[in-house]
Symmetry: none
Subunit: 222 residues, 4 copies
């Protein structure tokens, strides 16, 4: 379809090579259609390359998919860097954690298909999820969220209760990504931009801090 003519002897720098063109196109298509629904032809056509190119550059359709999902789900930066300037108070710390976790999930600067793909992978794991959890989610929980929660609750709560609280916090955040098909239907005019992320983070933080405080208070009584 799209014929490209090489006119200059010197290879043009701005011209994406076939491999990259495939990666971009495949990300969108996989995000829209899922692994089974996407076809190699749809990908190569959108990329403007030959059908055989996928099998040439990547071994497989599956191989290409894995490569793309892993890239889409990898964190921007290590949590420790993001959290560097975290304030002293555990309340502020949780607020910051929630904000950055939300931003990790919903960052409007990231191409939409990456978020879509991550949501897809979370609901329907194909193997990339293990790596995603190991590299991003579990460190966030174990090294940042849980310590903060412990600090907030003293040693009043059992591990089980702490876990439930962690789930409550992360669940509220994740829901904005995973539950999007539902929330979009319930609130059709609810858009998520940079401002909304801040608003939502503030809401979740206050909501959760109150819940944590309450659970801690009642635990003290028992």
């Amino acid at each position: 379809m799209v014929v490209r003519e090489r006119k200059s002897a010197a290879p043009e720098i701005s011209e994406e090579n076939t491999r990259d063109k495939i990666l971009s196109a495949a990300g969108e298509v996989f995000a829209e259609q899922g692994f089974e629904g996407a076809t190699i032809r749809a990908i190569t056509e959108r990329a403007g390359v030959n059908v055989a190119a996928v099998n040439y550059h990547f071994r497989d359709k599956a191989e290409l998919y894995t490569r793309i999902v892993l890239d889409a789900c990898s964190a921007r930066a290590a949590w420790s860097d993001v959290m560097a300037e975290a304030p002293n108070s555990p309340q502020e710390c949780l607020r910051s954690l929630i904000y950055h976790f939300l931003e990790y999930l919903l960052d409007p600067d990231r191409p939409a298909w990456k978020k879509r793909l991550m949501a897809r992978e979370m609901a329907n794991p194909t193997g990339a999820l293990d790596e995603l959890v190991d590299k991003n989610i579990r460190p966030f929980r174990n090294e940042f969220l849980m310590p903060t929660l412990r600090e907030l609750t003293g040693d009043k709560l059992s591990r089980r209760q702490l876990s439930l609280i962690a789930i409550s916090v992360m669940g509220q955040c994740h829901y904005f990504l995973l539950g999007q098909p539902i929330t979009q239907r319930l609130h059709p005019d609810f858009k998520i931009g940079r401002a909304e992320i801040a608003e939502i983070a503030e809401h979740i933080a206050r909501f959760s801090l109150a819940g944590i405080a309450e659970l801690t208070r009642t635990a003290r009584r028992s």
Copy 2:
């Protein structure tokens, strides 16, 4: 379309008719493989019936899928019936709502594939989600959850704030279904039985009531 009455004198328990055999088999296959991944042949083979049977009893692969998803996602009873014995205090009412919503999502008596399928459809909508939201989710939110939240907060909060609270509540619940692939990886020994549903519901209720109270209190001050 196809109405069937069993009039045979001897009640044959183990004998299913073709239509039902297809429904059972298709549910599992769709849950395992998704709509695109499932093949009619896989379904009919597992059901032990002819390939053409799907086309005869249901019009389409898509029609069969829709029928199954809607059935898998439909609430056992109308929310109004479930809520009949709801107590007077709005706090208890919210507690009850959360419990029943969680039970709707996680009911251990339901075959596992139904929950899997519901999660799949929510993360990866195919058209059946619209009906699912219209019939189950939206009524729950608009006719039960929101009124209770309004009662709990008086008229102190804006619609936006109420919506965020509703999302926080539903998000915590939904996360136990949608986020299962993640929670299973984070807490490998976390099983969800009848007892856990009660425990989780109680946790979410207390956590959320505190959050609601706090947001209401701070709103009053302004």
Copy 3:
């Protein structure tokens, strides 16, 4: 779509490429079985190529059929070229027209299946007939036959009468193609070769010129 150039040094005569193999085979099969009766498998098997080849080179079974029918029905050359050396007298002109029209329909050098296919399409239109009429039949009638008839009749006859005469002339010719199943049964030993075409054309010409003259004469009297 698919442009192909043979650049190989050795002119391989017997080797056809896949596309051409399909065209040959499909022509015969369609002529024998009709569009509905023919199966892609029958075509590809006879062509000795893969089933998917039809879909690759032509989009559809329907597309392939259309392509073949249009090719089978297209005149060897434009009528204007054929008529270049037409003589001056309108009588001779009509004679020539009839001959060339008959030759277009019955040309013994054309593979028999092309004629069969043309007859089939004329009796059982599938959409290709529209184009066939527009490109071949209507120009012949409007630009060549009708002017000649007008010249032969002066302005003595109404449009309706001229149309009927045109139908009489074309009907006699067409009948040798369309009515072949009947004429073969009535005259089993009636073969149509190059000589017969000339004989038939001469017959139709003399028969028709007399009819035209008679109709013109009686019209003059009124």
Copy 4:
């Protein structure tokens, strides 16, 4: 679809039985779609009967088709009856023959699908044509048309020439049936009712009588 209730104990006379309903419906469907294109389901649905009824009353789809084609192609009455009042002059006789042959082919009182089916069978014989030719066409030609032509031409013409004349006459007539797809495209507003049949017959008669006379005259000279 169409549920029919038997209310009266006595079988109603006006109610077509299943067999007849199939015959009516099948005629139309076969005429529209051809043998291969028609489906048993289309027929039984139009007839308002069960799918299995065709195989029950007729053995086959093929059997049903044959039955219908034979019926559609059978002549209304024997030619000898139709020709009873034929006038003495051979000219008038030919005129009458042409009219009745045209009427046989185009009779507006006959359901349109019968004509369509006959045309289909003539262009694309499936076996019923043999009987059609034997019973209707050949007798017309041999016992009525040829004798009249012989009378008109004396013994001036060879058998071959007489045959060609017969073909010219019958071809003009047949073309109004077989060539309808073409004539409709060339003359979109050309309808064939009872009046047109008379007009066409008169035209063909005068046209042909002149042709015959001319061929006879020139033959005499040689």
